[in-house]
């Protein structure tokens, strides 16, 4: 019985559409996160001078500090973007797929 449902889900093109959309969205965001974080770590490892540069004339705050806070904020924003889309668009698609599979 439950194998039938799984088979019906797999036969539904909407399912493949959902999987494709959600997976590629997740991969893109993961890659962005990895670039931002490891980019920052590699900057620290290889280009300390630039990060230590001052934010403006007469200021002591270095470029690295707002950039670091930026990575934290970027992390939070990225997570929010994913959760919003997954919890609305993707979950609606998912609910529809499950409804159609259980109907017959």
């Amino acid at each position: 019985m439950s194998e039938d449902v799984v088979a019906r889900i797999e036969a539904n093109p909407k399912y493949h559409d959902l999987v494709h959309k959600r997976n590629s969205f997740g991969y893109i965001l993961s890659v962005l996160m990895i670039i931002a974080y490891y980019g920052y770590i590699l900057l620290i490892a290889f280009n300390k001078e630039w990060l230590a540069g001052k934010l403006g004339a007469g200021m002591v705050t270095s470029i690295g500090i707002p950039l670091g806070v930026g990575v934290i904020i970027f992390t939070i924003i990225l997570t929010n973007i994913y959760v919003r889309r997954a919890n609305t668009e993707f979950d609606d698609m998912n609910a529809e797929i499950l409804r159609e599979a259980n109907k017959r």
């Binding site: 620290i44 230590a52 705050t61 806070v69 939070i76 994913y82 997954a86």
Partner: protein, 559 residues
């Protein structure tokens, strides 16, 4: 700075970040002096304990089934679970350790705040919904979904228990040192109190009690930290530039405070540490377990977002506290031993946050923050104990020994006895390790989580070709290589065992042990030509559909 001392700082810092191991981490932190008994702190802590024991009583009445015990019946909301995850993750040591690091080194402290956060998006994007849709009580439910139950669960339980035990010991030692310092209690008394309360929460209240202890602790820590930060920041007119310029003027390091120091000068260590933090987070059994407490994937995603928000905010607050302390604490002789400015800070290098609380809010604020630190340790160890007990009862007992034939009541009974045993072991080892350097234990816990648990977990969700043999080979290779690297590196070989020179030059295992684990899992799988392996690969499609859609997922109980 020599490369030796850089490695020292690494071991130390990882210790600071992850555990209460802070105070036992470095040579100069090892022996904290017992302070005068702090009655305000004790009164506030007693109030916290009474409230949480009340909650445990209530939770015990609601805990009827195995699902209630392990996962609060899946009835926790996304928002509640997000706070609980944050409560599970933000340790007293990350709070005291990072503010201490920023106080001493400025910019370098910030780097670690970031590392501590970046594992969360990976969990959100790649794992959250699959975890929730496939898992029931432990992450081994997922790795063993289409593979050999007994073999895969055995190795997953070994991985989980390794992480839990090392993490617990480090927490216990840190708790003893911290409480001795903040409350003026004897070391062993502090360790016993933590152990007894942990066992009470977990055995009587299960996941419901553990969750609420973590939620309350998260609110207290976020609230208390924010209040101290705001009071301190107001002295600089809430201007970051003013805060920074005064910190630079008042620090021995001067402008170097604002620049990256020697922390990440070696790229191999830098990347390895980052990998370990990022993927270790995604392999911690007590964090993974929290995904099964919510009713569905939607709530699971919501909870990781709330957790990310809390943890990100928290580390920003901690960094500002550390910077403010440079001026507010660093220029006040009453916080230095013998009143010598720039000398040794009273209580050691991890005390700036506590002194700052005293400076901006007097004894009341200091007592409050001390109580919060104690509560924080309790919440973290309870989560660990529950995860360890589940690995023993759900994986080893119910599925390996009893081959799935144990009744729910038997399983829960074994789980409760296991948490009692874990509590006793943690207390004994915590006392035994009082004078030891335990900083390496956290590195080891994260290394094993990233190399033994994470690779097989992610492959089981994403790679059709994974077979039982591959999962076993991958887990063993990751476990052995991570442990070997840590043991042969300076942290254990030299610092703990007293040898002259380390046999392995790097202390952070992840950059080596993770690829080894992935390779072994791949090799074991492609060389597995058995009939069973063919069936396991065929079963992937079914698992994949369920992982994606949540069809057939363990439901939620109404609470």
């Amino acid at each position: 700075m020599s490369s030796q001392s850089i490695r020292n700082i690494f071991g130390l810092t990882l210790g600071l970040l992850a555990t209460g191991g802070v105070l036992a981490a470095g040579a100069d932190l090892g022996n904290t002096t017992k302070q005068a008994t702090n009655w305000v702190a004790i009164a506030m802590f007693v109030a916290f304990v009474l409230v949480t024991l009340g909650i445990t009583r209530w939770a015990a009445m609601k805990t009827k089934t195995a699902a209630d015990f392990y996962t609060a019946g899946g009835g926790i909301t996304g928002f509640q679970n997000g706070l609980a995850i944050a409560g599970d993750y933000m340790s007293a040591a990350s709070f005291l350790g990072i503010s201490g690091l920023v106080f001493a080194n400025g910019f370098d402290g910030l780097i670690f705040s970031i590392g501590w956060l970046v594992g969360w998006p990976v969990i959100t994007f790649l794992m959250a919904e699959r975890l929730r849709n496939l898992g029931k009580f432990t992450f081994a439910d997922i790795t063993s979904y289409r593979l050999d139950q007994r073999q895969v669960r055995t190795i997953a339980a070994i991985g989980s228990l390794t992480v839990v035990v090392f993490y617990l010991i480090a927490q216990m030692v840190g708790a003893g040192q911290l409480i001795k310092l903040l409350f003026g209690l004897e070391y062993w008394i502090a360790v016993v109190i933590v152990g007894v309360l942990m066992v009470i929460y977990v055995t009587f209240g299960g996941m419901i009690a553990t969750t609420w202890v973590q939620i309350i602790k998260a609110c207290l820590l976020l609230g208390g930290g924010t209040l101290v930060m705001l009071l301190a920041f107001s002295q600089f007119g809430f201007s970051l530039e003013k805060l920074a310029s005064q910190a630079v003027a008042n620090s021995k390091k001067g402008l170097a405070l604002m620049a990256p120091g020697a922390f990440l000068s070696d790229p191999v260590t830098a990347v390895s540490l980052s990998l370990g933090l990022m993927f270790g987070t995604a392999g911690l059994p007590h964090i993974l377990m929290r995904f099964f407490t919510v009713p569905n994937a939607k709530e699971a995603r919501k909870s990781v977002f709330i957790a990310t928000l809390c943890v990100g905010f928290f580390f920003t607050v901690v960094a500002i506290m550390g910077l403010s302390a440079i001026t507010i604490v660093g220029t006040n002789p009453q916080y230095f031993e013998g009143g010598t400015l720039g000398g040794k800070l009273i209580g050691g290098n991890n005390m700036p946050a506590m002194h700052l609380a005293h400076a901006v809010g007097g004894n009341l604020m200091l007592g409050f923050l001390s109580a919060v630190a104690f509560a924080t340790i309790l919440a973290v160890v309870s989560g660990l104990a529950l995860a360890g007990a589940s690995a023993i009862s759900h994986d080893l007992y119910a599925n390996v020994i009893r081959r799935g034939q144990a009744t729910e009541a038997e399983e829960v009974r074994v789980s409760k006895s296991s948490s009692l045993v874990l509590g006793v072991v943690a207390v004994l080892l915590g006392i035994a390790f009082e004078k030891q350097n335990v900083a390496f234990m956290v590195g080891l816990a994260f290394g094993v989580a990233a190399s033994c648990n994470f690779p097989v977990l992610i492959l089981s969700m994403y790679w059709k070709g994974l077979t039982t043999r591959g999962a076993i080979w991958g887990s063993i290779a990751g476990l052995v290589s991570a442990v070997l690297i840590v043991v042969l590196s300076k942290a254990v070989w030299v610092t703990v065992l007293g040898n002259e020179k380390p046999l392995f030059p790097y202390e952070q295992p992840a950059i080596f042990s993770m690829p080894i684990a992935f390779f072994a899992a791949w090799l074991g799988s492609v060389m597995d030509g058995s009939v069973r392996a063919t069936k396991e690969k065929e079963a992937f499609e079914d698992q994949y559909v369920r992982a994606q859609t949540g069809f057939g997922a363990a439901g939620a109980a109404a609470h």
